[in-house]
């Protein structure tokens, strides 16, 4: 597609995007820290009193995370009316300890399972990626195709049919669709009722194991796909109609190209550009969808662990999961920006 020309990356543009992503991540880190301390039920103290932890563990936590130290300079809680000791060394505040821990990859110990948060998140992350990828890829491919066809056959029955279906799909609550599909699937099609693998099963080979996982993936993936098809279809349709109204399409027609050739060689490239941005923006919704679908289907991913942590008031887990979720979205947005700048020659060549 971009054959044979030198890739003149527009450095200023890239730098700008990187800087902005970094800034947002910093914001999220700060937000993450304060969020869990501002809210009632100061987690640090709550954690210390948490009966699930042994006394030794409590001591260790206190030392490691500096819970006896001031939260941040001048305040030893976040109540601004309490005037704290301003002579405190900022390097000894909880905030600093938190950040330095973070940079070392230390996210705390889960109150619930007594394991390091990072480990748990690491396992779960891959499960979520597996789940989300299948659904997203399917919905992107099908949604975009439908959008192209609907735009091409504007205002015909095909278009109206696609429009209505997409609007209905968009209006479905993700969790409800999951419930309905799970109900029908498990009752009438013998599909698994949840989880990633059949509990207690032994597998002869990796292939057998993967087949089992695949069976468990069917319903959640279908749910994911249906939910997102509507959105991609609608946006692709709208983008495509805009692109097909441009002057260069008339030029293509004047050159004697058929509709399909025009769609393929002119319209598609130009409308994929805005789609890339949309797909990136959708990642926020993907996270929301993942939380719901993992809950309904008991899929052991980030969403499920996040939700369980909420119920259990497992603050370190909650904090860690929230951070990972937010950072993934930010990174995905950044990746989309980079991809866009690579695809659009107007940006690339400056």
């Amino acid at each position: 597609m971009i054959s044979g020309d030198k890739i003149l990356m527009n450095y200023r543009y890239l730098l700008n995007k990187f800087a902005w992503a970094l800034l947002t991540i910093i914001f999220v880190i700060v937000l993450n820290f304060f969020l869990f301390r501002v809210l009632p039920g100061d987690p640090a103290r709550a954690g210390l009193r948490d009966p699930r932890l042994t006394v030794e563990a409590q001591e260790a936590i206190r030392a490691r995370f500096g819970l006896d130290k001031p939260v941040i300079n001048c305040f030893d809680s976040l109540n601004p009316l309490k005037i704290g000791n301003c002579a405190v060394n900022p390097l000894e505040t909880q905030f600093f300890i938190y950040v330095s821990n973070l940079l070392r990859g230390e996210l705390g110990i889960s109150y619930h399972s007594n394991r390091p948060v990072v480990d748990i998140l690491g396992e779960r992350l891959w499960n979520t990626i597996l789940l989300v990828s299948a659904g997203q890829i399917l919905s992107i491919v099908i949604g975009i195709s439908l959008g192209v066809v609907a735009a091409w056959k504007l205002r015909t029955m095909i278009d109206y049919g696609a429009l209505v279906s997409s609007l209905v799909a968009w209006s479905l609550p993700t969790f409800w669709l999951g419930i309905i599909l799970l109900f029908i699937g498990s009752r009438y099609f013998g599909l698994p009722i949840g989880g990633k693998m059949t509990p207690g099963a032994h597998f002869e080979s990796t292939w057998e194991q993967w087949k089992d996982i695949a069976r468990h993936l069917i319903l959640p993936t279908i749910t994911f796909t249906i939910i997102f098809i509507g959105e991609y279809m609608l946006i692709m349709r709208s983008t495509m109609v805009d692109v097909l109204s441009e002057d260069f399409i008339l030029t293509a027609k004047a050159k004697g190209l058929h509709s399909i050739q025009i769609l393929k060689d002119h319209a598609l490239r130009n409308s994929m550009l805005p789609m890339v941005t949309i797909i990136a923006l959708n990642l926020g919704f993907t996270v929301a969808g993942a939380i719901q679908i993992e809950t309904v289907f008991s899929w052991p991913g980030l969403g499920q662990v996040f939700f369980e942590a909420v119920g259990r008031r497992d603050y370190p887990m909650l904090q860690g999961a929230f951070l990972i979720l937010a950072i993934s979205v930010i990174f995905a947005n950044l990746a989309a920006d980079l991809l866009y700048s690579y695809l659009d020659p107007r940006v690339r060549a400056g």
């Binding site: 020309d5 002057d247 030029t251 004047a254 050159k255 190209l257 002119h266 107007r346």
Partner: protein, 342 residues
């Protein structure tokens, strides 16, 4: 009536012999409407006829909205969704283009008749290179061309219009406005068509570049034996390089003649007014005379002659009946009641 002195010395090329040159495009009594859901159809072009011969450059002149572009798009059947060609024939080498299927039309498009759009700035795809888009024009009609020949041809075309061949891998946004127009011309010539339609190719370009482009078109025409329809509202340009002129007003043909007759013996009041509205450098003290009033609304047309509301020589019959076209000479027609012999 008007003394445009430059006629004899207008170009270096000999005046065309309209009698002997073969006719390649014969547009006969073409009418085009624009339909809409809630209003009566707009009659954009009515009963329009003209001919184009091999090697001829026809100047199509008229105000904005008089139907020039619509007429041109009709030849290639590229009207927008609301356009309907409601009557007429368009004979290209004696085959009626309006009888062709879409596939047949696609074959003719660009290979035999190409078009340079008004505002070529946006007529190029911004995410593909210029060279690529020219290549596409060739490959669509000559799919077996070797890569070598393609590259050579693209280079040749770009050189012809004065763009260095080394710029073929650049994108439209890297070209200046004038260069993009020239690239469009290069692309329009890619398949060696018989007819090139140039729809106001110099709008929005500065005067120096305008002159270059028009000179380029004229030279190319003589070099390659092309026929050109030059759509413009600039009578000065027409005087310089065209062989024949079709003056349109409100969708109808006001006057259609060889260029000498138009300038030396204009018979339609609109043509006369147009000529007066253009400054003549040899007579700097003459006042510019603007034509008062506005062009007609195409779906609420006056019942008689379309120019009647603005015509300085209007009389009663003009508001009641549309004038017929009167043949004033072998290559001269005008549609005005003043010409009826009685």
């Amino acid at each position: 009536m008007t003394e445009m002195k430059s006629i004899e010395s207008r170009n270096l090329h000999p005046a065309m012999n309209l009698r002997s040159a073969p006719v390649i495009l014969d547009v006969q009594h073409v009418s085009v409407d624009f339909v809409s859901e809630r209003q009566t159809p707009a009659h954009a072009v009515m009963d329009l006829s003209f001919m184009l011969r091999e090697g001829e450059m026809l100047g199509l002149v008229g105000e904005s909205g008089c139907g020039k572009t619509t007429l041109m798009l009709s030849i290639l059947r590229l009207l927008p969704a609301a356009g309907r060609i409601v009557s007429g024939k368009i004979d290209f080498f004696e085959r009626d283009l309006l009888d062709l299927t879409e596939a047949g039309m696609n074959d003719i498009r660009w290979k035999n008749i190409s078009i340079i759009f008004q505002g070529a700035m946006n007529a190029l795809n911004p995410v593909r290179t210029i060279g690529d888009q020219i290549k596409e024009a060739i490959v669509v009609h000559f799919p077996r061309t070797s890569k070598q020949s393609l590259a050579e041809r693209i280079d040749e075309l770009l050189e012809m219009v004065g763009i260095g061949a080394n710029r073929k891998d650049q994108y439209p946004h890297q070209y200046s406005g004038g260069m993009r127009q020239r690239a469009m011309i290069a692309m329009a010539l890619a398949c060696n068509p018989q007819i090139v339609i140039a729809d106001e190719p110099t709008t929005a370009l500065d005067v120096m570049v305008q002159a270059q482009i028009l000179e380029l078109l004229d030279n190319l025409r003589h070099k390659l034996g092309l026929s050109v329809i030059l759509v413009t509202h600039d009578l000065g340009v027409v005087a310089e390089i065209c062989d024949t002129v079709l003056v349109m007003y409100g969708g109808v043909s006001a006057e259609y003649a060889d260029v000498d007759s138009i300038y030396n013996d204009p018979r339609h009041p609109y043509t006369q007014q147009l000529l007066k509205a253009f400054p003549d450098l040899s007579r700097p003290k003459d006042r510019l005379i603007a034509i008062p009033g506005y062009p007609p609304q195409l779906n609420a047309l006056p019942p008689g002659c379309r120019f009647a509301p603005r015509c300085p020589q209007v009389f009663e019959r003009c508001n009641i009946e549309q004038p017929a076209l009167y043949q004033l000479g072998p290559f001269h027609q005008a549609g005005c009641h003043l010409l009826s012999a009685s």
